[in-house]
């Protein structure tokens, strides 16, 4: 049954550099697939340097499950396998052809396929890694039995892309994707919108909910918590809504959809707008002429994204890039200055007098890490019926039973991003939550 949820705890951080609703395209001659984007996956290479591949050819698979293929987004040559410490594979770099040649997958049986059949097709086509799960916020497991599938139809994080704009002509692909996912769960496929349904209004075979309120209302974890909360032992699968359309396109055509529309945002972007780019595009191709020098390039949004060096590549799950000012300068008596240009969840800076101001925030921490001192701060931006500080403390002391009791299965690192942003003691809570989840995965396996 469709629900209308309203949350009040949270905050929208108003930043400079929102993307204009205009679509361009950027080509990237080199692209890379990064195994590090797939948390918990140990890659086994299926190609070697010098091999020719097509878009859709497997580059590596998961050591734990040979069927989970990770496929090349472009056709061309494998130019380099970049390894880090202990020979861990960091990137598989490819040189793209001018004209992309696609692998053709047989998807004719998809309408009559059962759960196993759908999963087999998705795995073969390299689309399976797009589906993630709660708890743990990692790739879904093919042998799991999810109680429902949740898809957030909007992103509420700072400068987030508008999926109603990106997907405005993709209703058919979305419907195909939903029909396939509906076979994977005994429960419902739930789509959560912000109220303005747009392209999502005509979709069938799914339940459309709405949620109102500030960020993190768009986080799928928040939506699950308020619509159908997770209990210990239960699993919910999730997928980004643009990735859902990509799966739909794959099942309609038999070719992978190797591009995504992403929002290029942030104060350091010259003309923020939307671009269609190939998965794993190089930062160089995106930033050239678009982004000021010496800016920090973030794949994703400012709260949860990854910092990418100038020679790096986009993340697999990101639908936004952000460029913001890199801060180095120490501030003389910065802790007593009035601070009109500082954004704060507290009202200790005079910027609170200007509620509609758009901020140009840099990467400064504005302080040093301390023990937990302030209380009640996290709760203001954490719309869960969970005690966030108590949960973090149980993770810090590795008390798994207490973590379970306090509801760790319902949260993902991204749900703590605003807590981390507003923390007086500058505690990196996203990392703590990730460590807690990883510890449980390790102990359970």
């Amino acid at each position: 049954m469709a629900k209308n949820v309203k949350i009040s705890r949270g905050v929208d951080i108003n930043l400079v550099g929102k993307a204009e609703e205009k679509l361009g395209a950027i080509d990237s001659t080199t692209v890379a697939l990064k195994p590090t984007d797939f948390h918990g996956v140990i890659p086994k290479l299926e190609v070697k340097e010098g091999d020719e591949v097509k878009a859709g050819t497997p580059l590596f698979h998961d050591k734990a499950n040979e069927n989970t293929k990770f496929v090349s987004p472009v056709s061309g040559e494998v130019v380099e396998v970049v390894r880090g410490a202990k020979r861990r594979i960091l990137e598989v770099r490819l040189l793209a052809d001018k004209e992309t040649k696609f692998e053709n997958f047989d998807v004719s049986g998809v309408n009559s396929a059962d759960k196993a059949g759908i999963i087999e097709i998705l795995q073969r086509g390299g689309q399976w890694p797009l589906i993630k799960k709660r708890p743990f916020d990692v790739m879904a497991g093919a042998n799991e039995d999810p109680k429902a599938i949740f898809i957030s139809a909007f992103d509420s994080s700072p400068l987030a892309p508008n999926y109603n704009f990106i997907l405005k002509d993709r209703a058919t692909d979305l419907q195909t994707g939903i029909d396939a996912l509906a076979k994977l769960t005994k429960g419902a496929v739930n789509i959560v919108t912000r109220g303005d349904k747009g392209v999502f209004s005509g979709l069938n075979n799914c339940t459309i909910h709405s949620i109102a309120g500030p960020h993190p209302a768009g986080n799928v974890g928040v939506q699950i918590h308020h619509i159908e909360p997770l209990n210990k032992g239960e699993i919910v699968w999730t997928i980004n809504v643009q990735d859902l359309a990509a799966i739909g396109s794959f099942l309609n055509t038999g070719k992978i959809q190797n591009s995504r529309v992403l929002a290029m945002t942030g104060a350091e972007v010259k003309a923020p707008q939307y671009y269609s780019v190939v998965l794993g595009s190089s930062v160089e191709s995106l930033s050239k002429g678009n982004i000021n020098d010496n800016a920090r390039f973030i794949s994703g949004n400012v709260l949860t994204g990854d910092k990418i060096e100038a020679a790096g590549y986009l993340g697999y799950y990101h639908h936004q890039v952000t460029a913001i000012r890199e801060d180095h300068e120490a501030e003389f008596f910065g802790w007593v200055a009035p601070g009109f240009d500082k954004f704060s969840l507290s009202k200790t800076f005079f910027s609170w007098a200007m509620p509609n101001k758009k901020y140009n925030l840099g990467t400064g921490i504005h302080g040093e890490e301390r023990a937990f001192v302030m209380t009640g701060q996290y709760e203001k931006v954490f719309p869960f019926d969970i005690y966030p500080v108590q949960l973090l403390k149980s993770i810090i002391i590795n008390d798994i039973e207490q973590m379970e009791n306090l509801g760790i299965y319902e949260v993902a690192p991204e749900d703590f991003a605003l807590c981390e942003f507003g923390c007086t003691s500058k505690i990196n809570s996203q990392e703590i939550v990730r460590n807690g989840l990883d510890l449980i995965i390790k102990e359970l396996s």
Binding site: G334, T348, I365, L406
Partner: protein, 384 residues
């Protein structure tokens, strides 16, 4: 500014690893970060961060304490000239008060920060800001005539046994400032009570009929008849600890703390309700003249407001959950008035009550969190 920065940069190598003053790095770091908010950029997690840090938080609390401090200085002077029967200008009173109060502040900060620095050097930690507030709170809850060495001893006790033995800022169970006050109260009871410590007389003859007793001291003996008028108690021109007498000054502090989001309005409000309820119950009971003091008047006396705004709200020693804060604050107020009335030997029942509730706060939080846990378990069972 560039000039100061250059000096800091030039001496920095001495304190870095391998430098000859490496041991004193915490001191250097403390001073450097005091002058300059470090320009560190985020390396993991959220790329942008809130402008607030612990220093800003502490400074806001100190700002909220300034009205109490200034009024305290004035009142010390006012009470002095009242006691010796001389008339004086406003500015004379403030200057006299400043001369009496500032040494308390200096001793409190000097001893407290000195000990903090020693612990940081020994542990190799950077200096944490907790004492910035405690150092201001301690002089404000002292009687003005307390000997400076006692302030030093109490501060040392509070920092070492109230805080450092638990692991420093953020780890303490008791409010350090109240620990200092309680230490003096129990270690030197004759010096900390009676009628002579509240007024600074410089040994001069007091005028006839002037006792120097605090409102609470009088209330025990004479009930309603002995306490100062309502308005005097609100303004704060009554004898008492340096910074605690003025309800108005405390309320200005409360407004700053609540508006900035740093002090918990839940604790303040529930403590006010708790104190009023207890005072009202005593009014109904009315067994002695002390109990007959109207509840609204009772709350204006002694350290009730100061304790409510600045002591009970200490985030480290108070309850941490929002529900817990209501319970914690309510009992701080309730017990404070109860102790004060039931045991006239402890006029500062508020101090006792807050310290007691500091100890109880983790228990309150435990039950609040347990409630959340069992709710989650029930939800799981309902489905299974």
């Amino acid at each position: 500014m560039e000039f100061i920065k250059n000096i800091v940069e030039s001496v920095k190598p001495n304190f870095d690893k391998g430098g000859k003053l490496e041991k004193y790095w915490p001191v250097f770091d403390g001073l450097e970060t005091f002058l300059f908010v470090p320009g560190h950029a985020t390396s993991k997690g959220a790329h942008i961060r809130d402008g607030i840090d612990l220093k800003r938080t502490m400074v806001t609390v100190i700002l909220a304490l300034v009205p109490c401090l200034l009024f305290g200085m004035y009142n010390v002077g006012y009470q002095h000239f009242l006691a010796i029967g001389e008339s004086a200008e406003f500015i004379d009173m403030v200057i006299y008060g400043a001369i009496r109060v500032l040494p308390l502040v200096i001793v409190s900060y000097g001893v407290g920060l000195g000990i903090e620095f020693l612990f940081c050097i020994k542990n190799g930690h950077s200096i944490q800001e907790g004492f910035l507030v405690s150092g201001m709170l301690i002089p404000l809850i002292m009687p003005v005539e307390v000997p400076l060495w006692m302030v030093a001893a109490a501060t040392a006790f509070a920092v070492v046994f109230g805080k450092e033995v638990f692991g420093g800022t953020g780890m303490n169970i008791l409010n350090p400032a109240l620990t200092a006050r309680a230490f003096l109260f129990f270690a030197y009871p004759t010096k900390m009570s009676g009628n002579s410590v509240w007024i600074s007389t410089d040994g001069m003859q007091t005028v006839d009929g002037y006792t120097g007793a605090t409102a609470l001291g009088n209330a025990v003996e004479q009930g309603v008849a002995g306490i100062p008028p309502y308005l005097d108690a609100i303004i704060g021109i009554i004898p008492g600890s340096v910074g605690e007498t003025s309800v108005i000054a405390c309320l200005i502090g409360a407004v700053i703390l609540i508006a900035s989001g740093i002090g918990s309005w839940r604790i303040m409000l529930s403590m006010l309700i708790g104190g009023y309820v207890m005072g009202y119950l005593f009014n109904m009971w009315g067994a002695n003249s002390y109990m007959e003091i109207p509840a609204h008047h009772q709350l204006m006396l002694g350290g009730f407001f100061f304790g409510m705004v600045f002591m009970a709200t200490d985030p480290v020693s108070a309850a941490q959950t929002n529900t817990g804060k209501w319970v914690y604050g309510f009992f701080c107020g309730l017990l404070g008035i109860m102790i004060r009335v039931f045991n006239p030997a402890y006029p500062e029942g508020i101090m006792m009550a807050i310290l007691f509730m500091n100890v109880m706060a983790p228990l309150i939080d435990h039950y609040v969190v347990q409630g959340n846990i069992s709710k989650r378990l029930k939800r799981a069972q309902a489905i299974a």
